[in-house]
Amino acid sequence: MQLEQMYQEIILDHYRSPHGAGLRDPFDAESFQINPTCGDEITLRVRLDGGRVAEISHETLGCSISQASASVLTDLVVGRSVEDSLRVLTAFQEMAQGRGQVEPDEEVLGDGVAFAGVARYPARVKCALLGWMAFKDAVVRVGGTDRGAAEQNGTAATSDGKDAT
């Protein structure tokens, strides 16, 4: 069954009770990302503490994949150093954009490996990456890194969480 390959139980669990859902204060940076092809949106806040990701909170208006992905992201990066979390991000992105050819490393990606099935559906890859691009963008805004922001995902970013359309 193809459907179960994409919607693995882990994904459905995260979708039904997403971690990090609901915007929280205080935060160091906020990113608003939008998927122009379907209109899905995420507002994601990051709070850092001494070079570590202390808290992620987000509000996601989107499909099960984008909501579950933001939830998994929260689990994976909170507590990590910014550097480390960006390594996870790169691994997640490589898997998601790998068209099912990239063997995910469970050590690095944890529950994130459940999204390997999504990589077979090119139209849904952006859904899986929406939250991650918001995270990357938010971290850049705090000045935690000088890497490029969310453009690779083809999404629009705003500095203040206002509607980017």
Binding site: Q2, Y7, C38, G39, D40, G62, C127
Partner: protein
């Protein structure tokens, strides 16, 4: 010219022989996603093409291909004849004079052509004065427009300093005629004949009357009407209209802009270059009469020929027959979806002034997820905002599922859609 076989059903009241129609569309018998029969309910995005259209393109390319309106050799003559014959047949199909039809890449280009010609009018001399726009002038659109009939007008306003205004849409999915922003300042009124999301057919005659009363030009986005019902631009009395070949069983890469002859004659060009000139000197050039003035460069040719074959095919069936068939399918979809708890149709739920696109949301299941379940069952629909983002905002939804039908769809396919929606509810635990 390019001979086209008689399609499956003749004009008239006889019921459509859908099986015979389907036999003309090879793609409809393929399977998808591990052997599931394809249920194609996305013709509102792009339709499939019958063998007759593909054959016409191939026959043209194998027998007559040459650059049209250039050269005097035999192939050039034949190619030009095929191209102009297609224009003439398409013109008949939409109730217009051939010289009032400009071939474009698609409807998007047709609408942009008008919008850019209006910008260019500022420096094009007195003849073009009626197309000029500036601060204090207004362009009126509606809240239900496809981005193709919204963004070009936003851009025209930005370039010229004019102001964009719009009709709003009621909760029933109908245009709110009381929200009318048309005033003496209005110079253009641009609107869809039928919404590509709601299915609503707009009251063209009334909008034309109101625009005319203040001397504004009308631009009709006919993308979702010309493919699906009899349309005569002359009878509708609009000034401009645009549609795309790929939504009417024809090729992609070809569309049509219709313009009233006197307007096209006075309108400055958008794209300039070869084929659109009258005389060229180093110091400057003069331009050919329409439609050539608006067809710069070597045009799409086999595609135009293919579109000619598509209108022959549709005419052979009869657009009244197509319309009735689509209405029956739409009614079936509205009834069946209406019986599924948690499904809400966005748009009119009765068939009056309504075409064959049905958009809906499923409580508790995002449109993408519904679409994924449908896709897994072989049912192809569109999910998202369908290039009508403001309209989706108006209804407070980020995305909808949209099923759209054409002449080759069957009642069983509507049932497959509805079964799939129920399956999605079950899969996500909301049904």
């Amino acid at each position: 010219m390019t001979a086209v076989e008689a399609p499956a059903s003749r004009n008239g009241t006889a019921a459509l022989d859908v099986a015979a129609v389907r036999a003309d569309f090879a793609i409809l018998s393929r399977t998808v996603r591990d052997g599931k029969p394809l249920v194609y309910l996305d013709s509102g995005a792009t339709s499939q093409r019958p063998r007759q259209v593909l054959d016409a393109e191939r026959a043209f390319l194998e027998q007559h291909n040459a650059a049209v309106h250039r050269g005097a050799h035999q192939l050039a003559e034949e190619a030009t004849d095929a191209y102009e014959s297609a224009r003439a047949r398409i013109a008949t199909f939409v109730g217009a004079d051939p010289a009032s039809l400009v071939f474009t890449k698609n409807a998007t280009e047709g609408i942009n052509l008008v919008a850019y010609a209006m910008s260019n009018a500022a420096t094009a001399g007195p003849e073009a004065a009626r197309f000029t726009l500036g601060p204090g002038d207004e362009v009126v659109v509606t809240e239900l427009e496809h981005h193709a009939n919204l963004v070009p007008w936003q851009e025209l306003c930005r370039r010229t300093g004019a102001t964009l205004r719009w009709f709003s849409v009621g909760a029933d999915g109908r245009l709110d005629l009381d929200s009318d922003p048309i005033t003496e300042r209005t110079k253009v009124v641009a609107f869809a004949h039928q919404s590509n999301v709601l299915g609503t057919v707009l009251p063209v005659a009334e909008l034309v009357r109101r625009a005319r009363a203040v001397g504004a030009l009308t631009v009709l986005d006919a993308c979702q009407s010309v493919p699906n019902r009899p349309v005569s631009f002359t009878a509708l009395d609009v000034d401009f209209a645009a549609f795309s070949g790929h939504k009417m069983l024809g090729p992609s890469g070809v569309g049509v802009l219709y313009g009233r002859s006197d307007l096209l004659a006075a309108m400055p060009p958008f794209l300039t270059g070869g084929s659109m000139i009258e005389m060229v000197r180093m110091e400057g050039s003069t331009y050919a009469p329409p439609p050539q003035r608006f067809e710069a460069g070597v045009p799409m040719t086999s595609q135009a020929v293919g579109l000619g074959a598509a209108v022959d095919y549709l005419s052979g069936i009869g657009m009244d027959v197509v319309e009735a068939h689509e209405a029956a399918l739409t009614g079936r979809a509205l009834d069946a979806l209406g019986e599924v708890p948690g499904v809400r149709v966005v748009g009119p739920t009765d068939l009056a002034d309504r075409g064959g696109v049905v958009a809906f949301v499923v409580d508790g299941v995002h449109a993408h997820d519904v679409g994924q379940v449908l896709d897994d069952r072989g049912v192809a629909v569109r999910v998202g905002h369908h290039c009508a983002w403001p309209l989706h905002r108006r209804f407070g939804v980020a995305a909808t599922v949209r099923a759209s039908v054409h002449v080759y769809n069957t009642p069983a396919e509507i049932d497959a859609l509805v079964d799939g929606v129920r399956a999605a509810q079950k899969f996500f635990g909301v049904g």
